[in-house]
Amino acid sequence: MSERTERSEGHERMPSQHGMSERTERSEGHERMPSRHGMSERTERLDGLSVRDVRVSFDGFTAVDGVSLEVPAGDIRFLIGPNGAGKTTLVDAITGLVRATGSVRFGDEELLGRPVHRISRLGIGRTFQTSTVFEELSVLQNLDIAAGARRSWATLARRRGGVPDEIAAALETIGLADRAGHLAGTLAHGQKQWLEIGMLLVQDARLLLLDEPVAGMSHEERDATGALLETVSRDRTVVVIEHDMDFLRRFARSVTVLHAGRVLSEGTVAQVQADPRVQEVYLGHPVDAGSARTGLEA
């Protein structure tokens, strides 16, 4: 637990992509806990995700069949596609949950072939379709654990004293500051999803992979989640798997459509919507559950 991957100092920043000039520097002017050893010299760096010819097979069935895509730093990329298109499997491959061939690079680091917790320490965080917060622990404890993967054993052996700065900031960002002491199991569904995103923030994830973050949310909660995504994408790269087309139209900066394990189309929301191949996949089979759910025709 004490060892961590050293980031190269003075690394060149990636060029700004989406009006990044006004983004806030989180590591500056911000007192760090002395216990979080080595945290102060970490540089905040914006990296893009590069997926090249990734294949995932389960017992002869190819779930992801040679997917290549580039997500530039600071993007909010939506991954869409009918059920079974391989969206979640692709995210599983990126995060090390399933074995894959090809290449996945985040910044300068190759991700494929590393164990899950090492990939996570490179700054890749994900959420799941079903929320997986620790229900028996409080909101604060959930965030504290998420923030602590680089803690030394000596720090782990002690109690948490007060609320670390970055956790307090995350509590504000996700709007759960007044719920910090409550058990995560008592939160509403939407709040659990926000807590998950908050956990990625304090984890210092620089690439967020969110699997259907607004499923089951009310309209207001969707709006709040979208605003949250825009906030966090100021200094992070975000990839969202989502079926909700209204949400996609409002918050996606770019879209990749997957179909049968391959990239079908890629571009802005308007470009993708105008693509006849996408229309065929979604509209060609009107009885398909995928088209009913996505409502791309609307």
Partner: protein, 395 residues
Amino acid sequence: MTAVTPAPPDTAVRPAPGGATPPGRPAGHSRLRTAAGFAFGAALLFAVAPLVLSDFRLALLAKYLCVAMVAVGIGIAWGRGGMLTLGQGVFFGLGGYAMAMHLKLADAGPGGMPDFMQLYGQLDELPLWWRPFASPWFALPATVLLPMAVAFGLGSLVFRRRVRGAYFAILSQALAAAMVILLIGQQGTTGGTNGLTDIKGFFGYDLDDPVNQRMVYFIIAGALLALLALARQLIHSRYGELLVAVRDGEERVRFLGYDPASVKLVAYVVAAGMAGLAGALFVPAVGIISPALIGIVPSIEFVIGVAVGGRATLLGPVLGAVAVAWARTALSERFPGTWTYLQGLLFVVVVAFLPGGLASLWALTRRRDAAARSVRRGRLSLGRRRTERTEVPAA
């Protein structure tokens, strides 16, 4: 998917405070309560018990407290870490045998050999692996470090391979069986089925003397309190929170950048060390260690006490272990032969109707009070909370 009455935007983003669980109590208050609790426990063990109990009963209590020390460890490994370890007898036995070997050698005097070796082993000289145990500087640390080392080796193999749940339980139980078979098979050097018996002295003190028995009791009581303090620190540390997180969502913890195997390993090794210390102190208290005391049946009995008391709490395992061990003696005295059935019944009833153990009864009443209070305090916010609750997570 979205059949939810939209709540006002304000409440959707920032709901009103006052949920079902109260926020954490201030640290100073809880520290005071803990100090008071420890003082009460110490008074009970060091003053009240020796005054009201006969020498015979006090010796029995010493034995129960040893079982309680094992229970503290199981509470950490199983209650907080989710590792149902059905083989704590192995570590209890390693500690017990290490201590008994030293005491047997001390009884035999310099250059002497334990009585049973001459009887069964027909050995001319002490086996090589017995020799270091002649020194207390080796034997005493070994009672704790040996079980921890074995747990470390085993745990490293098992947890990295992601063996868990019932498979882990079965594996740990098989280990207890293997250890018993090994001990019985090596009768010449281990005492076989009889074990190491007839231990007379404890670092120069005669164990037949009631005064010295009392001293052993006090050492055990002190050790139990020390282990409780250690367990409490562990549970309330960041590590303790992390351990619960691993118990409830091992994969999720992995995605946060931790290696759950090493988190579990620490709890398992600590539990093994506690069982080893308990075994070591059990020997002077009872005067014997044998395969029957460390095999599958005693290993399961350790767990029953923890389950009855409440595995996830600090005191539950201790009180449960003492209560079950005491009930066993009391009921066996009156109705010999029925205890086994009663014990089984007790286990089934607790697991079926009170999965959190007896400790959860107390927590239940407290929660009911808190819920009643919060209803009285915030009738207005109730409707809003109900709206939130109708939101069903979509698949």
